[in-house]
């Protein structure tokens, strides 16, 4: 039965094509790459189709196998799982295609082969995580996911920063897993079974405990502030298509976990909503603020993942508040918007990471301020990246707008509820607006400094755009951004189907009102395009037979402008960062200019992540100090060692 199941077939194919290279193919580099990436692609395709079919037909299936005699490995796919599977398989598919030309260092054959092994493991484990139907299965897949992604993070371990990133990630994922395990433990302590079913019967206090523990555990994987510290280190360290997967879908497994636990507990109090909402707002705003301050393009994108996780959480939180307030429309708008944003973020974030990867691959640098004018040499990369930027800023007519639109409307519904709900929804709406504005500032910076203007360095000049397998996925994703942005109906429907699986007690969700909303968006988008086209026509008409000449940029009277005089990313973001000073301490370093003929000088700036700063001070150092105080116990003197034994006996005899 398992064999013929398309889902397991897909997982099997993926795993197989990951193991294959290491077994015997690694001697033939190109063949190995081809087999691996094609195999993974094929597997993902099967899985994707299966997931979409399951989602559209709303089929639940479950399957389980005996495990260690007394237990079972159980899998179950409902709307929620299917929705996440869709995102996972879509992104992994394109990442696999992308990897073919990206991993082109023939010197590191074995390493590439190993990379494909863990790549496939990661994809497979993610797919299994979102279908796992009991604690053992879940933890098993979860840990494998963490482990495999860790190895992908330290792919380039020669770089010291990557090693640090890998270590941080390792610690966070393990501690997070432990916290999740604790949450499960609380459930188990009441339900006395490894299945999830018993969770609903827990007493209130236990539910609170479980929810908080789970939120911390899953939040640390999803990159919720302040558990996001590892994220901006780990994501840039990995190869770009891996960053795309990690940022695009792996952290979403954390979101899945939160949603799943919420559904299992059936704990419909406003409190859960408030927790999620607040966490979401903080992550959203701080994430984008820190992103503004970054000089490393992949690090910047990583921080934007924190921001978008924040937006998703705001949506989910509004949904929870809606459920608690008995307001189905608000609830579904919130959850639907959040879920849809999961898909959207997966799409445009992986697009952006692939674009960044292209730039990194061709220029060899991730530093924003030494790039520039790349779009002239890389038109497709530039254009797709532009589309991605518009989408991530939530601007119409692209997909980012749709989900934010739903969340906004949900928020407005909440604002009408009054009291605490009113206050929090109000804050949610405002922070969404602020996030949008900041994101716009951040991505105009990236576009302007990296892709537009003039090259600021050699690296940025000598670039080309080769590698079909790298370009194709970007084009596809950009297309997806536009399609979802203009015709969101069907996708919103999928998101709502996924939301149905949360057992909010509304049964079948009537799609009509939501379809009307999305229809409006389509209308607006089409209107926008018609106007744009007509203006275009007008413009063409106006320029008919006009003289169009080219010359240098107007230097405002300055006659010898150089490329290095362009506005840098740091200065672009400077004034906004000042505004957020207390939250994002900005450390500047530039020697003063002295004398009539000042020496060559420089300017460095670095934005500190307060969470990172305090983690060191509040947790790490005290723990180390505390344990250091005990090290004298092992002092090497045998007399006292024997003393310990005697002590142990004497103490124990008191209890006899």
């Amino acid at each position: 039965m398992l064999a013929i199941n398309p889902f397991f077939l897909a997982v099997g194919i993926i795993l197989g094509s990951g193991i294959l290279p290491l077994l015997f193919l690694w001697r033939r580099f190109v063949l190995m790459k081809a087999v691996a990436s094609f195999g993974i692609t094929a597997g993902c395709l099967i899985g994707l189709i299966d997931a979409i079919l399951k989602l559209s037909h709303g089929v639940d299936w479950a399957s389980s196998a005996s495990y260690l005699h007394a237990f079972r490995l159980a899998f179950h796919m409902d709307g929620l799982s299917a929705f996440f599977l869709m995102a996972i398989f879509l992104v992994s598919l394109l990442a696999a295609v992308y990897s073919y030309h990206y991993m082109d260092d023939a010197q590191k054959t074995i390493r590439v082969a190993v990379h494909y092994l863990f790549f496939s493991l990661l994809v497979a484990s993610m797919a299994l995580v979102v279908t796992a139907a009991n604690m053992i299965t879940f933890m098993l897949c979860w840990e494998i996911m963490s482990l495999s992604s860790f190895f992908l993070v330290v792919y380039n371990y020669e770089n010291d920063g990557n090693r640090k990133a890998g270590y941080l990630y390792f610690i966070f994922s393990q501690v997070g897993a432990m916290v999740i395990l604790a949450a499960f433990g609380v459930i188990y302590s009441h339900a006395a079974s490894f299945g999830f079913e018993g969770a609903a019967a827990l007493p209130e206090t236990a539910k609170l405990l479980v929810f908080v523990l789970a939120f911390i555990g899953f939040g640390s994987k999803a990159g919720v502030f302040p558990f996001h510290v590892w994220l901006p280190h780990a994501h840039p360290a990995a190869p770009s298509h891996i960053s795309a997967i990690m940022s695009g879908v792996m952290i979403k497994c954390g979101i899945y976990g939160i949603l799943r636990i919420y559904a299992l507990l059936g704990w419909h109090t406003p409190l859960s909503g408030y927790i999620v909402l607040v966490a979401g707002m903080i992550s959203g705003i701080l994430g984008v603020v820190y992103a503004l301050g970054q000089h490393d393009i992949k690090r910047l994108l990583a921080y934007h993942s924190v921001e978008n996780i924040g937006i998703i959480l705001i949506g989910i939180g509004l949904g929870m508040v809606g459920v608690a307030a008995g307001n189905p429309v608000m609830a579904l708008l919130g959850f639907g918007g959040g879920l849809l944003h999961v898909l959207n973020h997966a799409i445009f974030k992986s697009l952006l990471f692939m674009g960044a990867g292209m730039v990194l691959h061709k220029t060899g640098t991730r530093t924003i301020d030494v790039l520039g004018g790349v779009i002239k040499k890389m038109p497709i990369t530039g254009t797709t990246f532009l589309i991605g930027s518009l989408a991530i800023c939530g601007l119409p007519p692209f997909n980012g707008f749709v989900s934010e639109f739903m969340i906004y409307i949900g928020g407005f519904r909440g604002a009408a509820l009054g009291q605490a709900d009113f206050a929090l929804s109000l804050l949610a709406i405002v922070s969404l607006a602020v996030i949008g504005g900041l994101a716009l500032a951040c991505f105009t910076k990236v576009m302007g400094v990296v892709f537009q203007g003039e090259p600021r360095s050699r690296a940025a000049e000598a670039v080309n755009e080769k590698g079909t397998s790298m370009i194709t996925p970007m084009v596809v994703l950009a297309g997806a951004c536009l399609v979802i942005g203009v015709f969101p109906g069907v996708f919103a429907g999928m998101a709502l189907k996924a939301a149905e699986a949360l057992q909010l007690g509304y049964g079948r969700v009537p799609l009509a009102p939501f379809m009307q909303l999305t229809g409006n968006i389509t209308l607006g988008a089409l209107l926008f395009f018609t106007v744009l086209v007509s203006i275009l026509v007008l413009r063409i008409f106006l320029y008919r037979g006009k003289s169009v000449t080219a010359s240098g940029t107007w230097g405002c009277g300055f006659t010898q402008p150089t490329a290095r005089m362009q506005y840098t990313g740091s200065s672009y973001a400077g004034s906004i960062l000042e505004f957020f000073g207390p939250l994002a301490p900005l450390e500047e370093n530039h020697p003063p200019i002295e004398g009539r003929f000042p020496a060559k000088t420089y300017y460095q700036s670095h934005v500190h992540d307060i969470a990172e700063r305090h983690m060191q001070g509040v947790i790490v150092s005290p723990v180390l100090a505390a344990f250091d105080k005990l090290r004298w116990l092992q002092h090497g003197d045998i007399h006292l060692y024997i003393g310990y034994i005697l002590l142990a006996i004497v103490v124990l005899l008191f209890f006899v």
Binding site: L630, L633, I645
Partner: protein, 473 residues
């Protein structure tokens, strides 16, 4: 038949003393193979012992026996390669002691009489002392001295404890042979006071040998000074033997309805050991000591699980088996590292991923396994233990447990990352022959397989072993 399993290696060991140095290597492997065959036979047939008063084939004994003989076989294979690479004076003493060590440990697993078990365990100390002193250095001498003295003192207390148990029989007017198996039946009539006293002494005594804090003090020294195959044996199976004594006594306690008493004590010692391990792992400077402390941690985990009972005890047994497999492979890897870098300091190592790739795979795999990542079995064991702890409502204890596990992981991971990836400028002094890594791979693979599929007979044996300790789930 039963006695043969430990008599054979004993004879082989005595022979080895008089053989020319290098002749011991094949003997080692052959004995290992024969021993493995015998133990499997034993497992299959479960025969009656020749002296049923003293020896018996018990499920828990069989489990440890199988682990011991599998490990010894693989370690013996590794040892042949190791002895080639590392020069050891009077090698025949080394091999001879290895074999005697094997025989004594086997005796522990098969002994049923309380006193005989004590004799066997004390004998393991004596047989393994020469192994630790193999390198003839001042440090190894000190390690041996501490090992022998501390363990002897500790085990002396265990003897006293055994005497107290017999005393509890006198006071309770029960007249059965002084064997664990026969005690199980009459446990109810034993005098609880003396039984408890006996348990306490036995726990501290065998706990010393098992490496429970605060009696663990000898362990890091011995493990770091002994040559790696010996360390692998010490950490992989010797600790299990000591644990076996505690386990059996604990069973008697459960049968006597004193399970809570023993359980609480076991859990406390477990937690203390884990915390102690955390203390010394964080800023460890030598990788072999690091592994030694990790053994203390795992013994703590096992004690904790045993104390909880139920599915926790099951988890503990799984941890026990997998810890033996994984930790011994780690120690074997440490042997390669020592040979490769010629230095036991962590700071002197690095970039193993590129310099010694084969060892790296085994080493990092072992690390992942020991810190509870699937697909290695300790993961499932720890999961059961934690779940059971929650089930029995020891929230505080399990909180502490989980926290210290995290701390230990953080410390351990830092060192392992250093060894595996950090830059270092040294030249590797050996080239890794496949025989120096295949034993590790075999061990890890076994652990991987056992994580997903436990043979029916093995499972049944575990269940029988746990039958009375509130097992069953």
């Amino acid at each position: 038949m039963v006695e043969l399993v430990f008599i054979a290696p004993m004879l082989a060991g005595i022979v080895a003393f008089f053989l020319p140095p290098t002749a011991g290597r094949p003997l080692l492997v052959l004995t290992g193979a024969a021993h493995l065959a015998l133990s499997i036979l034993l497992w299959a047939l479960r025969p009656e012992a020749l002296f049923p008063a003293y020896f018996a084939v018990t499920p828990e004994g069989l489990l440890s026996l199988l682990v011991i003989s599998l490990l010894f076989f693989l370690i013996a294979i590794y040892t042949t390669a190791y002895l080639k690479a590392a020069e050891i004076r009077s090698e025949n003493i080394f091999t001879g002691s290895m074999l005697l060590f094997l025989s004594t440990m086997t005796m522990v697993t098969l002994s049923d009489h309380i006193m005989v078990m004590w004799i066997a365990i004390e004998a393991t100390t004596l047989a393994s002392a020469p192994l630790i002193y193999t390198h003839r250095s001042a440090a190894s001498l000190e390690a041996t001295w501490k090992y022998v003295l501390i363990c002897s003192v500790g085990i002396a207390l265990a003897l006293l404890g055994s005497v107290f148990i017999t005393l509890s029989m006198d006071v309770g007017d029960v007249d059965v042979p002084v064997a664990f198996s026969s005690l199980m039946g009459v446990a109810q009539q034993l005098d609880p006071l003396w039984l408890k006293t006996g348990f306490v002494f036995i726990l501290v005594g065998y706990g010393t040998k098992m490496g429970l804090a605060p009696m663990h003090t000898w362990l890091p020294d011995a493990h770091s000074e002994a040559p790696s195959p010996a360390s692998a044996l010490l950490s992989g199976v010797l600790l299990n033997c000591a644990y076996l004594g505690i386990f059996k006594t604990n069973k008697v306690m459960h049968a006597a309805g004193l399970g809570d008493f023993s359980g609480t004590i076991l859990m406390t010692f477990g937690l203390v050991s884990i915390l102690a391990a955390a203390t010394f792992i964080l800023k460890q400077t030598e990788y072999k000591r690091l592994l030694a402390y990790s053994s203390i941690e795992n013994m703590g985990i096992i004690a904790f699980g045993t104390g909880i009972g139920g599915i926790g005890a099951y988890g503990a047994v799984l941890c026990l088996i997998h810890h033996s497999l994984i930790k011994s492979s780690l120690f074997l890897c440490s042997g390669n590292i020592l040979l490769g870098y010629g230095n036991r300091l962590i700071s002197a190592t690095g970039q193993m991923a590129r310099r010694m790739p084969k060892t790296f795979v085994a080493f990092f795999g072992g690390f992942a396994g020991i810190s509870g990542f699937p697909p290695f079995g300790i993961f499932i064991g720890e999961l059961f233990i934690i779940m059971a702890a929650f089930r029995t409502g020891h929230y505080l204890a399990v909180g502490l447990f989980v926290l210290s596990l995290c701390v230990i992981f953080a410390g351990f991971a830092r060192h392992v990352m250093k060894i595996s990836f950090d830059d270092v400028d040294t030249t590797i002094q050996i080239e890794e022959t496949s025989i120096m890594v295949w034993p590790q791979y075999a061990l890890l693979t076994t652990s991987m397989v056992l994580c997903f599929w436990i043979p029916e007979t093995l499972y049944q044996t575990i269940v029988q072993a746990l039958a009375t300790t509130g097992g069953g789930f």
